[in-house]
Symmetry: C2
Subunit: 342 residues, 2 copies
Amino acid sequence: MLNGGGFTVLSVDVMGGDKAPESPIHGVKLALKNDPSLRFILHGSEEAAELAAQEGLTEAKGVIFCHASDVVTGDEKPSYALRNGRKSSMWLAISSVSDGRAQAVVSGGNTGAYMAISRLLLKSLPGVDRPAIVSTFPTQYGACVMLDLGANIVCDADNLVQFAVIGDAFARATLKIPSPRVALLNVGSEEVKGSDVVKAAAHELREGKTGLNFIGYIEGDGIADGQADVIVTDGFTGNVAVKTTEGTGKICIRYTREAFGSGPIAMLLGLLAKPYLSRVFKRLDPRLYNGAMLAGLGGIAVKSHGGSDAVAFANALAVAASLARNDVNGNIIGLLRGQESR
Amino acid sequence: MLNGGGFTVLSVDVMGGDKAPESPIHGVKLALKNDPSLRFILHGSEEAAELAAQEGLTEAKGVIFCHASDVVTGDEKPSYALRNGRKSSMWLAISSVSDGRAQAVVSGGNTGAYMAISRLLLKSLPGVDRPAIVSTFPTQYGACVMLDLGANIVCDADNLVQFAVIGDAFARATLKIPSPRVALLNVGSEEVKGSDVVKAAAHELREGKTGLNFIGYIEGDGIADGQADVIVTDGFTGNVAVKTTEGTGKICIRYTREAFGSGPIAMLLGLLAKPYLSRVFKRLDPRLYNGAMLAGLGGIAVKSHGGSDAVAFANALAVAASLARNDVNGNIIGLLRGQESR
């Protein structure tokens, strides 16, 4: 039933994340409402199956529930999950993609375990040594792409160069930019700045044969400023940058709410200005950027933020559907091949 | 003249930063207006001296100008500046502190050179291996302290532990917090997350004899959330986090301006709501957090952001004056001694 009629089939680990299974299940319900051409294979506990049924997520609605007797916890080591996680909702959700039953998998669970199991079941794409987590990111002009966001905590120069290639392909596929400006995140724009790893990667991107549109270094404040389309960094720095941005966006919203709650006149003006303030809040809402791809794998795996609510989870599902429909992996493979043959 | 009567004397490198000497000189003028108990020794070129004179910054106003024939440029290697920078405005500005003529120095110039020359002239405090750049940072409840913000691009676990001690002392001195909550910046809050360096530092802070109020790991979004008072990280990650926050704050302001400029009704409401919007913009304004300390040195050296305008530079001068008046180095020494004897 699920594969016919132009449907996009998503496999979902409903047990991953801080608010599981509630947020994933409510997220699936919301995504289905937003996009009736989606179909789902959910993986989770019996309690989760009951919740899904209560929420009307039944086969008649295009949702199949598969029982998983185990869960990968947030503090589990990836190596442990690899050895012992075969019956977990995460493992089974990923295997729905390696089996060909679903076109993409989404989980909000343990990132390290998700990457490790995905590498095992989906394999790396030809030419990719280290898959990376990549996501779009708001800028003043629209969006950019940043990677790695946490899969590779310590990176060497070759890793960064390969991330640049993957990020370039991802940006072409998702942002529809013909020649993305690729930059390395650094602590200064001058050539002498930064670690040896960053300097060596810059040298290779400038002098080597990647053929990318490498524009040099970018500093943290250049990201939101829209100075580059693809921002390349190690997984530690990228993860901190993304989460710091989220945190700052949240206090912007909080400061605004406080200012317009500071007295009767302020509250009246806040009420009148609500449509405009909502527009600002919406642009700052990190939930609408939720959904990062584990890029460089032979199947589409999307990571939802561990703290996601239903709106955020639904956004990650929409990202997964869009990546599947745009054949992002075909794009990445093509570009990696093209760059190899240069 | 400068040392009498309870004045605080600041030495300023007016040639450092992208908008030098204009921004530093206008910043000095603004700082003097805000705080008439300040006195200044300015170091710069003859053109800068002329500009200062034009702006009325004369001896009668408590400003002495010292001519420097050289400038440390932004892309100069620290080692080059150390060998060849003896006649630079930066070197001479720092020596005004090592000479005892000024209580603190402020520069917006090349950070690496500033740290290298400061280490040579001011020496490290007893017990400090690697001085770090530390600054306050806005949170939803007030402020926190973060370090290192760019002095030490690659750090080992011992460096991070020592930053924690310096940050603790800095927070006690500047935020007036009796037992600051110290946290390590990481990519997850679980024990298994992060690099080996971060894990080893966490082990030492938990099990060792620092006696700090160590609360564990914090993620990027926990900074603005106010989850810790002292946030410890390496100079690469800290620099990116600070600049990313600045960039996000700027697009918050831009989004708000765009929303309230989107039509006649929006503009009218924006005009009426201006006092409240200004309050939000002010809280987000990175210029008001400008002024980071090169902490762990035997004299107070404050770094102003390279892109500072006059308002931002004046804030860095106010930070330097406050650090001098609160004897922050006495606090750091005392705490390092106390922690050694534990």
